[in-house]
């Protein structure tokens, strides 16, 4: 039995704008509109919007809901304030990463968990089946829509279109507002620029999209989303993160500060004490030819790692990427080569981010 790819409520809008559509994790999504590089630059210098409806949004509520989620994720939720959110990971008992996610606290008994599209069904079953009786779980992914508005003008355009002040929100803070029902604006994003993620009722998303278009905000697709997040040094599940590694191998120990136990915390602690055998690192090629995921990283002709993501970086004008490399050789500054199959590219290991917004 084959499944047709799913469509977000904005599918017709993308087609109407002439977007090139691809199947991404079972969803027909826009890869580009007027060009990946133009959309990338526009996000860094102006403002763009991204249809992110395909991502998952779970609502968890009731007495003990916060404590219940806190036992499932690496993020320390006990110190979150109302209107604050935090990035973390959902781990298996063996420490393998099921997903990266953001947990939002509305109040002590109302939470939202935002997850990736490709892992939505897996995450849903994992979380729902591990919540105690009395804690309510709702997969709100169809009921609520999500739109990312990113770039230096994102706050201004959000204020213009919605009358909502995002500029005064701190980073990883959010507030609710009314937009034909409950709506959320959070100061979060996946581009390395200032911006917001907007959550509105799915019945209002087409209208919201049209209002941003009318205000002069152009859309950007998944192609630019990938080049932007790569430059910003942000991992992508399925590339930098997977069930085969813990966040320690991913070099993301700064997100593992929680002292209390969660699923996978024993393995995480052991791995940190012993040190991982391999580590995720960035690399930079002094040239435009890209390394791609799956290619081998070499030091003195010896294979020492594998590329997890690679692309030409439009803002930096060179090729960059991430690679999982033997721990002993993963230090920034190490010169390496990447075997593209056609040739070997000279590169140097660097700590991400590759780019920081001015």
């Amino acid at each position: 039995m084959t499944h047709e790819p799913m469509r977000t409520p904005l599918y017709d809008a993308h087609v109407k704008l002439g977007a090139r559509m691809v199947d991404f994790s079972g969803w027909m999504m826009p890869i580009q509109y007027d060009g990946i590089i133009a959309e990338h630059h526009r996000t860094r210098t102006d403002v763009t919007m991204f249809d992110t409806c395909h991502m998952g949004r779970f609502r968890v509520a009731g007495p003990g809901s916060g404590e219940a989620i806190n036992r499932l994720v690496t993020a320390e939720l006990s110190t979150l304030k109302d209107g604050q959110c935090r990035y973390g990971f959902l781990l298996r008992e063996d420490g393998g990463i099921l997903d990266d996610l953001i947990v939002y606290r509305f109040d002590a008994e109302h939470w939202m968990i935002v997850v990736n599209a490709g892992t939505l069904p897996k995450d849903r079953e994992w979380i729902r089946s591990r919540l105690p009786a009395g804690v309510m779980f709702e997969d709100a992914s169809s009921r609520m829509a999500k739109l990312d508005v990113q770039g230096p003008k994102a706050f201004a355009k959000t204020a213009e279109v919605l009358g909502v002040d995002a500029a005064s929100l701190g980073y990883f803070r959010f507030r609710t507002f009314d937009y034909g029902g409950e709506a959320i604006v959070s100061r979060t994003g996946y581009t390395g620029e200032k911006g917001v993620e907007l959550y509105v009722d799915a019945t209002r998303i087409v209208e919201l999209w049209d209002r941003f278009l009318a205000a002069g905000v152009k859309p950007a697709g998944l192609g630019a989303r990938d080049t932007l997040r790569l430059e910003a040094g942000l991992p992508l599940y399925g590339h930098e993160l997977s069930e085969d590694i813990t966040p320690v191998e991913a070099g993301l120990e700064r997100y593992l500060t929680k002292a209390s136990a969660y699923i996978g915390s024993d393995v995480v602690r052991q791995r940190r004490e012993q040190g991982p055998a391999k580590r995720l690192t960035g690399f930079r090629i002094e040239g435009r030819q890209a390394a791609r995921a799956g290619q081998t990283v070499l030091v003195n002709n010896r294979p020492v790692g594998i590329v997890t993501s690679g692309s030409f970086a439009p803002t930096l004008q060179v090729a960059i990427g991430f690679a999982m490399v033997e721990m002993a050789l993963a230090a920034p500054g190490t010169p390496v080569q990447v075997d593209t199959g056609r040739n070997c590219l000279d590169a140097v290991l660097v700590n991400p981010p590759f780019y920081k917004a001015g």
């Binding site: 090139r20 060009g35 990946i36 590089i37 192609g223 435009r288 890209a290 030409f312």
Partner: protein, 126 residues
């Protein structure tokens, strides 16, 4: 936008001839399909190719694509301006975005290629 005095391949390369020199590039259809071009791996002068050999590799943000020699010949020049500005291929695929020149080249090989009108028809039916 398909020029005259040019021959086309089914793989969307074009070749134009002036005297004993053939110039090779990719069509407007090809550059649009590739998207933003970020890097071009051009052949070195002196390289000898047969028709259908890989002549160059064009990278776009998401992928790498081979460019095949429309006819056999010897590379006599490559478009060095593309090193710093590969997007020229997107902007002017039939003009300044030329990839390389062949001299000598196998003129008999042109007979197997499509004229501009035939290429337009070929695009229309695919």
């Amino acid at each position: 936008m398909v020029q005259k005095n040019v021959w086309y391949t089914k793989d969307h390369e074009w070749v134009s001839v002036e005297g004993d020199t053939a110039t090779v590039g990719i069509s407007d259809h090809a550059q649009a399909a590739l998207g933003d071009i970020t890097f071009v791996d051009l052949p070195k002068p002196g390289k000898v190719v047969k028709a259908h050999d890989s002549l160059a590799v064009i990278e776009s943000v998401k992928a790498a694509s081979d460019v095949y020699a429309p006819v056999g010949g010897t590379v006599c020049a490559a478009n060095d301006t593309l090193g710093a500005a590969p997007e020229t291929i997107n902007q002017a695929p039939l003009g300044e975005g030329w990839l390389c020149k062949l001299k000598p080249f196998d003129a008999a090989g042109l007979a197997a290629l499509m004229t501009a009108e035939q290429y337009e028809a070929f695009l229309a039916e695919s």
